[in-house]
Protein backbone atom coordinates (compact mmCIF):
# COMPACT_ATOMS: atom_id res chain seq x y z
CA UNK A 1 0.00 0.00 0.00
CA UNK A 2 2.78 2.39 0.97
CA UNK A 3 4.41 2.07 -2.46
CA UNK A 4 1.08 2.90 -4.07
CA UNK A 5 0.57 6.00 -1.96
CA UNK A 6 4.22 6.93 -2.49
CA UNK A 7 3.65 6.56 -6.21
CA UNK A 8 0.53 8.67 -6.15
CA UNK A 9 2.25 11.48 -4.27
CA UNK A 10 5.31 11.18 -6.53
CA UNK A 11 3.01 11.42 -9.56
CA UNK A 12 1.37 14.54 -8.15
CA UNK A 13 4.82 16.01 -7.42
CA UNK A 14 5.98 15.24 -10.95
CA UNK A 15 2.95 16.97 -12.43
CA UNK A 16 2.90 19.97 -10.09
CA UNK A 17 6.66 20.58 -10.22
CA UNK A 18 6.40 20.74 -13.99
CA UNK A 19 9.57 18.76 -14.46
CA UNK A 20 10.74 19.62 -17.99
CA UNK A 21 12.17 16.13 -18.45
CA UNK A 22 8.81 14.59 -17.65
CA UNK A 23 6.91 16.83 -19.97
CA UNK A 24 9.35 16.24 -22.80
CA UNK A 25 8.83 12.49 -22.38
CA UNK A 26 5.03 12.99 -22.30
CA UNK A 27 5.18 15.20 -25.39
CA UNK A 28 7.36 12.67 -27.20
CA UNK A 29 4.96 9.84 -26.30
CA UNK A 30 2.01 11.83 -27.56
CA UNK A 31 3.80 12.88 -30.74
CA UNK A 32 4.78 9.31 -31.63
CA UNK A 33 1.44 7.72 -30.73
CA UNK A 34 -0.72 10.41 -32.32
CA UNK A 35 1.20 10.18 -35.59
CA UNK A 36 1.08 6.38 -35.50
CA UNK A 37 -2.65 6.44 -34.78
CA UNK A 38 -3.27 8.95 -37.57
CA UNK A 39 -1.33 6.90 -40.13
CA UNK A 40 -2.82 3.57 -39.01
CA UNK A 41 -6.33 5.08 -38.93
CA UNK A 42 -6.11 6.59 -42.40
CA UNK A 43 -4.85 3.37 -43.96
CA UNK A 44 -6.70 0.96 -41.68
CA UNK A 45 -10.11 2.55 -42.16
CA UNK A 46 -9.71 2.57 -45.96
CA UNK A 47 -8.47 -1.03 -46.03
CA UNK A 48 -11.09 -2.27 -43.55
CA UNK A 49 -13.93 -0.54 -45.39
CA UNK A 50 -12.77 -1.96 -48.71
CA UNK A 51 -12.48 -5.43 -47.21
CA UNK A 52 -15.99 -5.15 -45.76
CA UNK A 53 -17.72 -4.64 -49.10
CA UNK A 54 -15.37 -6.60 -51.38
CA UNK A 55 -15.92 -10.20 -52.35
CA UNK A 56 -12.98 -12.06 -53.83
CA UNK A 57 -11.28 -15.42 -53.74
CA UNK A 58 -9.18 -15.75 -50.59
CA UNK A 59 -11.07 -13.10 -48.63
CA UNK A 60 -11.72 -15.54 -45.80
CA UNK A 61 -8.00 -16.27 -45.47
CA UNK A 62 -7.23 -12.55 -45.43
CA UNK A 63 -9.85 -11.97 -42.71
CA UNK A 64 -8.40 -14.76 -40.58
CA UNK A 65 -4.92 -13.32 -41.05
CA UNK A 66 -6.09 -9.84 -40.14
CA UNK A 67 -7.84 -11.07 -37.00
CA UNK A 68 -4.75 -13.05 -36.05
CA UNK A 69 -2.65 -9.90 -36.35
CA UNK A 70 -4.74 -8.40 -33.53
CA UNK A 71 -2.66 -10.53 -31.19
CA UNK A 72 0.61 -9.43 -32.73
CA UNK A 73 3.24 -9.13 -29.96
CA UNK A 74 4.73 -5.66 -29.96
CA UNK A 75 8.27 -6.99 -29.54
CA UNK A 76 7.86 -9.01 -32.74
CA UNK A 77 6.69 -5.87 -34.56
CA UNK A 78 9.71 -4.03 -33.15
CA UNK A 79 11.99 -6.79 -34.33
CA UNK A 80 10.54 -6.86 -37.86
CA UNK A 81 10.71 -3.06 -38.18
CA UNK A 82 14.24 -3.17 -36.75
CA UNK A 83 15.28 -5.67 -39.42
CA UNK A 84 13.63 -3.57 -42.13
CA UNK A 85 15.32 -0.36 -40.97
CA UNK A 86 18.70 -1.79 -40.01
CA UNK A 87 21.60 -0.78 -42.22
CA UNK A 88 21.49 -4.07 -44.15
CA UNK A 89 17.67 -4.15 -44.32
CA UNK A 90 15.55 -3.14 -47.33
CA UNK A 91 14.66 0.24 -45.76
CA UNK A 92 18.08 0.83 -44.23
CA UNK A 93 18.79 3.67 -46.65
CA UNK A 94 16.18 5.78 -44.83
CA UNK A 95 18.42 5.99 -41.78
CA UNK A 96 15.43 5.95 -39.43
CA UNK A 97 16.62 3.39 -36.90
CA UNK A 98 16.71 4.73 -33.31
CA UNK A 99 14.66 7.74 -34.30
CA UNK A 100 11.11 8.88 -33.59
CA UNK A 101 10.16 8.06 -37.19
CA UNK A 102 11.08 4.42 -36.61
CA UNK A 103 8.94 4.43 -33.47
CA UNK A 104 6.01 5.91 -35.41
CA UNK A 105 6.46 3.25 -38.06
CA UNK A 106 6.54 0.42 -35.53
CA UNK A 107 3.46 1.67 -33.70
CA UNK A 108 1.61 2.20 -37.00
CA UNK A 109 2.28 -1.42 -37.95
CA UNK A 110 1.13 -2.55 -34.53
CA UNK A 111 -2.08 -0.52 -34.58
CA UNK A 112 -3.07 -1.01 -38.23
CA UNK A 113 -4.66 -4.46 -37.71
CA UNK A 114 -6.74 -3.10 -34.82
CA UNK A 115 -8.18 -0.28 -36.93
CA UNK A 116 -8.63 -2.43 -40.04
CA UNK A 117 -10.30 -5.35 -38.25
CA UNK A 118 -12.70 -3.19 -36.24
CA UNK A 119 -13.53 -1.08 -39.30
CA UNK A 120 -14.15 -4.18 -41.37
CA UNK A 121 -16.58 -5.56 -38.80
CA UNK A 122 -18.36 -2.22 -38.36
CA UNK A 123 -18.76 -1.50 -42.07
CA UNK A 124 -19.71 -5.08 -42.89
CA UNK A 125 -22.48 -5.03 -40.27
CA UNK A 126 -23.74 -1.69 -41.61
CA UNK A 127 -23.54 -3.00 -45.18
CA UNK A 128 -25.56 -6.08 -44.26
CA UNK A 129 -28.28 -3.84 -42.84
CA UNK A 130 -28.26 -0.90 -45.25
CA UNK A 131 -25.95 -1.75 -48.13
CA UNK A 132 -28.78 -2.83 -50.38
CA UNK A 133 -30.46 0.54 -50.03
CA UNK A 134 -27.28 2.37 -50.98
CA UNK A 135 -26.75 -0.05 -53.84
CA UNK A 136 -30.31 0.70 -54.88
CA UNK A 137 -29.35 4.38 -55.27
CA UNK A 138 -26.57 3.40 -57.64
CA UNK A 139 -23.63 3.44 -55.22
CA UNK A 140 -20.95 0.92 -56.19
CA UNK A 141 -18.89 -1.01 -53.66
CA UNK A 142 -16.25 1.72 -53.19
CA UNK A 143 -18.71 4.56 -52.75
CA UNK A 144 -20.92 2.39 -50.57
CA UNK A 145 -18.05 1.70 -48.19
CA UNK A 146 -17.21 5.42 -47.99
CA UNK A 147 -20.84 6.34 -47.31
CA UNK A 148 -21.09 3.69 -44.62
CA UNK A 149 -17.87 4.93 -43.00
CA UNK A 150 -19.28 8.47 -43.04
CA UNK A 151 -22.59 7.26 -41.65
CA UNK A 152 -20.94 5.32 -38.82
CA UNK A 153 -18.36 8.04 -38.18
CA UNK A 154 -18.94 8.27 -34.44
CA UNK A 155 -18.11 4.60 -34.05
CA UNK A 156 -14.77 5.39 -35.69
CA UNK A 157 -13.93 7.82 -32.91
CA UNK A 158 -14.10 4.85 -30.55
CA UNK A 159 -11.99 2.76 -32.93
CA UNK A 160 -9.40 5.53 -33.15
CA UNK A 161 -9.31 5.87 -29.35
CA UNK A 162 -8.82 2.10 -29.07
CA UNK A 163 -5.97 2.32 -31.57
CA UNK A 164 -4.40 5.22 -29.71
CA UNK A 165 -4.66 3.30 -26.44
CA UNK A 166 -2.88 0.34 -27.99
CA UNK A 167 -0.19 2.61 -29.44
CA UNK A 168 0.62 4.71 -26.38
CA UNK A 169 0.62 1.78 -23.97
CA UNK A 170 2.99 -0.51 -25.87
CA UNK A 171 6.62 -0.73 -24.90
CA UNK A 172 8.28 -3.55 -26.80
CA UNK A 173 8.27 -2.13 -30.32
CA UNK A 174 9.42 1.39 -29.42
CA UNK A 175 12.10 0.01 -27.12
CA UNK A 176 13.57 -2.13 -29.92
CA UNK A 177 13.44 0.42 -32.74
CA UNK A 178 13.88 3.57 -30.63
CA UNK A 179 16.55 2.35 -28.27
CA UNK A 180 15.15 4.34 -25.28
CA UNK A 181 17.75 7.11 -25.71
CA UNK A 182 17.32 9.79 -23.04
CA UNK A 183 16.15 13.10 -24.41
CA UNK A 184 15.73 11.65 -27.88
CA UNK A 185 13.65 8.45 -28.12
CA UNK A 186 12.63 7.90 -24.52
CA UNK A 187 8.86 7.79 -24.13
CA UNK A 188 6.58 7.14 -21.16
CA UNK A 189 6.45 3.35 -21.45
CA UNK A 190 10.17 2.90 -22.03
CA UNK A 191 10.89 5.26 -19.12
CA UNK A 192 8.59 3.18 -16.90
CA UNK A 193 10.36 -0.01 -18.01
CA UNK A 194 13.75 1.58 -17.29
CA UNK A 195 12.79 2.84 -13.81
CA UNK A 196 11.34 -0.58 -12.98
CA UNK A 197 14.56 -2.30 -13.99
CA UNK A 198 16.50 0.21 -11.86
CA UNK A 199 14.28 -0.66 -8.88
CA UNK A 200 12.72 2.79 -8.56
CA UNK A 201 9.19 1.40 -8.41
CA UNK A 202 7.45 4.50 -6.98
CA UNK A 203 8.80 6.61 -9.85
CA UNK A 204 7.82 3.93 -12.37
CA UNK A 205 4.31 3.80 -10.97
CA UNK A 206 4.12 7.57 -10.86
CA UNK A 207 5.02 7.71 -14.54
CA UNK A 208 2.31 5.13 -15.15
CA UNK A 209 -0.22 7.32 -13.39
CA UNK A 210 0.84 10.33 -15.44
CA UNK A 211 0.43 8.25 -18.61
CA UNK A 212 -3.07 7.20 -17.55
CA UNK A 213 -3.96 10.82 -16.71
CA UNK A 214 -2.84 11.99 -20.16
CA UNK A 215 -4.89 9.25 -21.86
CA UNK A 216 -7.89 10.05 -19.66
CA UNK A 217 -7.71 13.72 -20.66
CA UNK A 218 -7.57 12.77 -24.33
CA UNK A 219 -10.53 10.42 -23.96
CA UNK A 220 -12.58 13.13 -22.28
CA UNK A 221 -11.65 15.50 -25.10
CA UNK A 222 -12.74 13.01 -27.76
CA UNK A 223 -15.98 12.19 -25.91
CA UNK A 224 -16.73 15.92 -25.68
CA UNK A 225 -16.05 16.30 -29.40
CA UNK A 226 -18.36 13.36 -30.16
CA UNK A 227 -21.16 14.80 -28.02
CA UNK A 228 -20.75 18.21 -29.59
CA UNK A 229 -21.03 16.67 -33.08
CA UNK A 230 -24.06 14.65 -32.03
CA UNK A 231 -25.71 17.78 -30.69
CA UNK A 232 -24.99 19.52 -33.99
CA UNK A 233 -26.62 16.56 -35.74
CA UNK A 234 -29.65 16.91 -33.50
CA UNK A 235 -29.33 13.27 -32.51
CA UNK A 236 -29.94 12.01 -29.03
CA UNK A 237 -26.87 12.03 -26.81
CA UNK A 238 -26.12 8.85 -24.94
CA UNK A 239 -27.14 9.62 -21.30
CA UNK A 240 -24.14 7.64 -20.01
CA UNK A 241 -21.83 9.96 -21.90
CA UNK A 242 -23.61 12.94 -20.39
CA UNK A 243 -22.49 11.72 -16.98
CA UNK A 244 -18.87 11.93 -18.04
CA UNK A 245 -18.88 15.11 -20.04
Amino acid sequence: MSSLTDSASAAIDLITQQDPMLWSVVARSLWVSLWATAIASATGICFGAWLAVSRFYGRGVLLTLLNTLLALPSVVVGLVVYLLLSRSGPLGYLGWLFSLKAMVMAQSVLVFPVVAALTRQCVEDADRLHGEQLQSLGAGAGLRSLLLVWDERYVFLTIVITAFGRAISEVGAVMVVGGNIEGFTRVMTTAIALETSKGDLPLALALGLVLLTVVLCLNILVAALKNWCLRLDGATVDPLQKVWV
Partner: protein
Protein backbone atom coordinates in the same frame (compact mmCIF):
# COMPACT_ATOMS: atom_id res chain seq x y z
CA UNK B 1 -47.06 -29.79 -57.26
CA UNK B 2 -49.10 -26.85 -58.47
CA UNK B 3 -49.99 -26.38 -62.10
CA UNK B 4 -48.10 -23.57 -63.86
CA UNK B 5 -49.87 -20.23 -63.57
CA UNK B 6 -50.81 -18.47 -66.77
CA UNK B 7 -49.20 -15.02 -66.69
CA UNK B 8 -51.72 -12.24 -66.70
CA UNK B 9 -51.96 -10.26 -69.94
CA UNK B 10 -53.35 -6.75 -69.72
CA UNK B 11 -56.27 -5.87 -71.95
CA UNK B 12 -54.54 -2.79 -73.31
CA UNK B 13 -52.42 -4.46 -75.94
CA UNK B 14 -50.77 -1.17 -76.83
CA UNK B 15 -48.86 -1.21 -73.54
CA UNK B 16 -45.23 -2.14 -73.95
CA UNK B 17 -43.53 -4.93 -72.06
CA UNK B 18 -41.40 -3.20 -69.42
CA UNK B 19 -40.15 -6.08 -67.35
CA UNK B 20 -39.81 -9.77 -67.98
CA UNK B 21 -38.70 -12.50 -65.60
CA UNK B 22 -37.93 -15.91 -67.02
CA UNK B 23 -37.43 -18.97 -64.85
CA UNK B 24 -36.04 -17.02 -61.92
CA UNK B 25 -34.74 -19.05 -58.99
CA UNK B 26 -33.19 -17.58 -55.85
CA UNK B 27 -31.48 -19.85 -53.41
CA UNK B 28 -30.11 -18.98 -49.96
CA UNK B 29 -27.99 -21.98 -49.02
CA UNK B 30 -30.30 -24.98 -49.06
CA UNK B 31 -33.42 -22.75 -48.96
CA UNK B 32 -35.16 -21.88 -52.23
CA UNK B 33 -36.65 -18.42 -51.75
CA UNK B 34 -38.00 -18.15 -55.30
CA UNK B 35 -38.79 -21.01 -57.64
CA UNK B 36 -39.18 -20.70 -61.37
CA UNK B 37 -40.78 -17.26 -61.48
CA UNK B 38 -42.06 -16.21 -64.90
CA UNK B 39 -43.51 -12.73 -64.99
CA UNK B 40 -44.35 -10.09 -67.56
CA UNK B 41 -45.05 -6.54 -66.42
CA UNK B 42 -46.38 -3.98 -68.89
CA UNK B 43 -45.85 -0.23 -68.69
CA UNK B 44 -48.38 1.48 -66.44
CA UNK B 45 -49.49 -1.64 -64.60
CA UNK B 46 -50.01 -1.51 -60.84
CA UNK B 47 -49.05 -4.91 -59.57
CA UNK B 48 -49.45 -6.05 -55.98
CA UNK B 49 -47.58 -9.02 -54.58
CA UNK B 50 -49.46 -10.68 -51.76
CA UNK B 51 -48.78 -13.73 -49.66
CA UNK B 52 -47.88 -14.80 -46.16
CA UNK B 53 -44.58 -13.93 -44.48
CA UNK B 54 -41.72 -15.79 -46.12
CA UNK B 55 -43.63 -16.32 -49.35
CA UNK B 56 -40.93 -14.50 -51.35
CA UNK B 57 -42.50 -11.05 -51.93
CA UNK B 58 -39.55 -8.99 -50.72
CA UNK B 59 -37.04 -11.31 -52.37
CA UNK B 60 -38.89 -10.97 -55.67
CA UNK B 61 -38.90 -7.17 -55.44
CA UNK B 62 -35.18 -7.12 -54.61
CA UNK B 63 -34.46 -9.38 -57.57
CA UNK B 64 -36.52 -7.16 -59.85
CA UNK B 65 -34.72 -4.08 -58.53
CA UNK B 66 -31.37 -5.72 -59.19
CA UNK B 67 -29.95 -5.58 -55.67
CA UNK B 68 -30.19 -9.36 -55.25
CA UNK B 69 -28.65 -11.64 -57.86
CA UNK B 70 -30.67 -14.55 -59.21
CA UNK B 71 -29.40 -18.11 -58.76
CA UNK B 72 -30.74 -18.98 -62.19
CA UNK B 73 -33.08 -17.46 -64.76
CA UNK B 74 -33.15 -13.98 -66.19
CA UNK B 75 -34.55 -10.53 -65.44
CA UNK B 76 -34.98 -8.26 -68.46
CA UNK B 77 -35.82 -4.58 -68.12
CA UNK B 78 -36.86 -2.54 -71.13
CA UNK B 79 -33.84 -0.38 -71.87
CA UNK B 80 -33.73 3.08 -70.30
CA UNK B 81 -36.39 2.45 -67.66
CA UNK B 82 -35.63 4.46 -64.51
CA UNK B 83 -36.74 2.56 -61.42
CA UNK B 84 -36.79 3.41 -57.72
CA UNK B 85 -37.42 1.30 -54.69
CA UNK B 86 -38.79 2.14 -51.27
CA UNK B 87 -37.79 -0.40 -48.66
CA UNK B 88 -39.90 -1.65 -45.79
CA UNK B 89 -37.62 0.01 -43.23
CA UNK B 90 -35.77 2.78 -45.03
CA UNK B 91 -32.29 3.45 -43.76
CA UNK B 92 -31.61 7.07 -42.95
CA UNK B 93 -28.11 8.36 -43.47
CA UNK B 94 -26.67 10.66 -40.80
CA UNK B 95 -27.18 13.77 -42.88
CA UNK B 96 -29.80 16.45 -43.45
CA UNK B 97 -33.14 15.57 -45.02
CA UNK B 98 -32.42 17.59 -48.17
CA UNK B 99 -28.94 16.10 -48.56
CA UNK B 100 -30.41 12.65 -48.14
CA UNK B 101 -32.60 13.15 -51.20
CA UNK B 102 -29.96 15.09 -53.11
CA UNK B 103 -27.52 12.21 -52.70
CA UNK B 104 -29.79 9.92 -54.74
CA UNK B 105 -29.86 12.48 -57.55
CA UNK B 106 -26.11 13.13 -57.33
CA UNK B 107 -25.48 9.40 -57.68
CA UNK B 108 -27.54 9.53 -60.88
CA UNK B 109 -25.16 12.16 -62.25
CA UNK B 110 -27.03 15.36 -61.35
CA UNK B 111 -24.64 18.17 -60.23
CA UNK B 112 -24.85 18.76 -56.48
CA UNK B 113 -26.39 22.27 -56.63
CA UNK B 114 -29.11 21.17 -59.05
CA UNK B 115 -29.59 17.99 -57.03
CA UNK B 116 -30.38 20.03 -53.92
CA UNK B 117 -32.92 22.15 -55.80
CA UNK B 118 -34.64 19.08 -57.19
CA UNK B 119 -34.50 17.47 -53.76
CA UNK B 120 -36.42 20.42 -52.30
CA UNK B 121 -39.12 19.96 -54.96
CA UNK B 122 -39.38 16.28 -54.07
CA UNK B 123 -39.65 17.15 -50.37
CA UNK B 124 -42.52 19.51 -51.17
CA UNK B 125 -44.32 16.64 -52.90
CA UNK B 126 -44.32 14.65 -49.65
CA UNK B 127 -44.80 17.63 -47.33
CA UNK B 128 -41.36 17.52 -45.71
CA UNK B 129 -40.03 20.87 -46.93
CA UNK B 130 -40.21 22.31 -43.41
CA UNK B 131 -37.78 19.76 -42.01
CA UNK B 132 -35.32 19.94 -44.92
CA UNK B 133 -32.45 21.00 -42.66
CA UNK B 134 -33.04 18.42 -39.95
CA UNK B 135 -30.99 15.29 -39.50
CA UNK B 136 -32.78 12.48 -41.33
CA UNK B 137 -32.19 10.08 -38.43
CA UNK B 138 -34.22 12.27 -36.07
CA UNK B 139 -37.45 12.03 -38.10
CA UNK B 140 -40.39 9.92 -36.95
CA UNK B 141 -41.14 6.59 -38.63
CA UNK B 142 -43.85 8.07 -40.82
CA UNK B 143 -41.66 11.01 -41.82
CA UNK B 144 -38.80 8.64 -42.63
CA UNK B 145 -41.05 6.62 -44.92
CA UNK B 146 -42.23 9.84 -46.62
CA UNK B 147 -38.60 10.86 -46.99
CA UNK B 148 -37.86 7.51 -48.62
CA UNK B 149 -40.71 8.27 -51.04
CA UNK B 150 -39.26 11.71 -51.73
CA UNK B 151 -35.93 10.14 -52.57
CA UNK B 152 -37.62 7.60 -54.83
CA UNK B 153 -39.78 10.25 -56.54
CA UNK B 154 -36.87 12.66 -57.01
CA UNK B 155 -35.37 10.59 -59.81
CA UNK B 156 -38.71 10.59 -61.72
CA UNK B 157 -38.99 6.82 -61.99
CA UNK B 158 -40.93 5.09 -64.74
CA UNK B 159 -41.32 2.18 -62.35
CA UNK B 160 -41.65 2.32 -58.59
CA UNK B 161 -41.04 -0.69 -56.36
CA UNK B 162 -42.45 -0.60 -52.85
CA UNK B 163 -41.73 -3.28 -50.29
CA UNK B 164 -44.55 -3.23 -47.72
CA UNK B 165 -44.28 0.56 -47.54
CA UNK B 166 -46.77 1.02 -44.71
CA UNK B 167 -46.37 -2.14 -42.66
CA UNK B 168 -44.37 -0.55 -39.84
CA UNK B 169 -46.42 2.66 -39.57
CA UNK B 170 -49.21 3.79 -37.28
CA UNK B 171 -52.64 4.37 -38.90
CA UNK B 172 -52.11 8.11 -39.35
CA UNK B 173 -48.67 7.75 -40.93
CA UNK B 174 -50.02 4.87 -43.02
CA UNK B 175 -52.76 7.11 -44.39
CA UNK B 176 -50.25 9.86 -45.20
CA UNK B 177 -48.01 7.48 -47.10
CA UNK B 178 -50.99 5.98 -48.92
CA UNK B 179 -52.07 9.46 -49.92
CA UNK B 180 -48.64 10.05 -51.47
CA UNK B 181 -48.90 6.73 -53.30
CA UNK B 182 -52.40 7.52 -54.58
CA UNK B 183 -51.33 10.97 -55.68
CA UNK B 184 -48.33 9.55 -57.51
CA UNK B 185 -50.52 6.97 -59.24
CA UNK B 186 -53.06 9.62 -60.26
CA UNK B 187 -50.39 11.96 -61.61
CA UNK B 188 -48.27 9.40 -63.39
CA UNK B 189 -48.83 6.61 -65.82
CA UNK B 190 -45.76 4.89 -64.44
CA UNK B 191 -45.57 1.29 -63.35
CA UNK B 192 -46.04 0.37 -59.71
CA UNK B 193 -44.93 -2.91 -58.17
CA UNK B 194 -45.59 -3.31 -54.48
CA UNK B 195 -45.91 -5.93 -51.81
CA UNK B 196 -48.43 -5.62 -49.05
CA UNK B 197 -50.26 -7.50 -46.32
CA UNK B 198 -52.97 -4.88 -46.37
CA UNK B 199 -55.64 -6.25 -48.68
CA UNK B 200 -57.64 -3.02 -48.55
CA UNK B 201 -54.59 -1.18 -49.83
CA UNK B 202 -54.14 -3.79 -52.54
CA UNK B 203 -57.78 -3.35 -53.61
CA UNK B 204 -57.42 0.43 -53.75
CA UNK B 205 -54.07 0.67 -55.50
CA UNK B 206 -53.49 -2.41 -57.61
CA UNK B 207 -54.76 -3.33 -61.04
CA UNK B 208 -53.31 -6.81 -60.84
CA UNK B 209 -52.61 -9.14 -57.95
CA UNK B 210 -49.95 -11.83 -57.82
CA UNK B 211 -50.26 -14.36 -55.04
CA UNK B 212 -47.02 -15.97 -53.87
CA UNK B 213 -46.58 -18.98 -51.66
CA UNK B 214 -43.35 -20.83 -50.87
CA UNK B 215 -41.49 -18.79 -53.47
CA UNK B 216 -43.89 -19.68 -56.28
CA UNK B 217 -46.53 -17.66 -58.10
CA UNK B 218 -49.82 -19.45 -57.44
CA UNK B 219 -52.23 -16.83 -58.79
CA UNK B 220 -51.85 -13.93 -61.21
CA UNK B 221 -55.16 -12.14 -61.74
CA UNK B 222 -56.73 -8.72 -62.29
CA UNK B 223 -57.62 -7.18 -58.92
CA UNK B 224 -61.42 -7.43 -59.36
CA UNK B 225 -61.17 -11.06 -60.31
CA UNK B 226 -58.82 -11.82 -57.40
CA UNK B 227 -61.20 -10.34 -54.84
CA UNK B 228 -64.61 -10.95 -56.36
CA UNK B 229 -64.59 -14.22 -58.18
CA UNK B 230 -64.76 -17.46 -56.26
CA UNK B 231 -61.24 -18.88 -56.27
CA UNK B 232 -61.86 -22.16 -54.45
CA UNK B 233 -61.51 -24.23 -57.56
CA UNK B 234 -59.18 -22.18 -59.75
CA UNK B 235 -56.77 -20.92 -57.07
CA UNK B 236 -57.47 -22.77 -53.81
CA UNK B 237 -54.35 -21.47 -52.00
CA UNK B 238 -55.21 -17.84 -52.77
CA UNK B 239 -58.78 -18.50 -51.64
CA UNK B 240 -57.54 -19.80 -48.28
CA UNK B 241 -55.16 -16.84 -47.97
CA UNK B 242 -58.03 -14.39 -48.47
CA UNK B 243 -60.00 -16.19 -45.80
CA UNK B 244 -57.03 -15.86 -43.45
CA UNK B 245 -56.45 -19.58 -43.35
CA UNK B 246 -53.12 -19.62 -45.15
CA UNK B 247 -50.06 -18.84 -43.03
Amino acid sequence: MNAPVEPHQPSQRKKSLQLQLQGVDVQFGPYMALKQIDLNVYAGERVAFVGANGSGKSTLLRVIHGVLPVSSGQVHWQSGVQQSMVFQRPHMLRTSVVNFVALALWLQGVPWRAAKEQAMQALQQVGLQDVAGRNAKTLSGGQQQRLAFARALAVHPQCMLLDEPTSSLDPHAKREVERIMEHWIAENSSTLLFSSHNLGQVKRLASRVIYLEGGRVLADLPTEQFFQQPLEKSHPEAHLFLRGERV
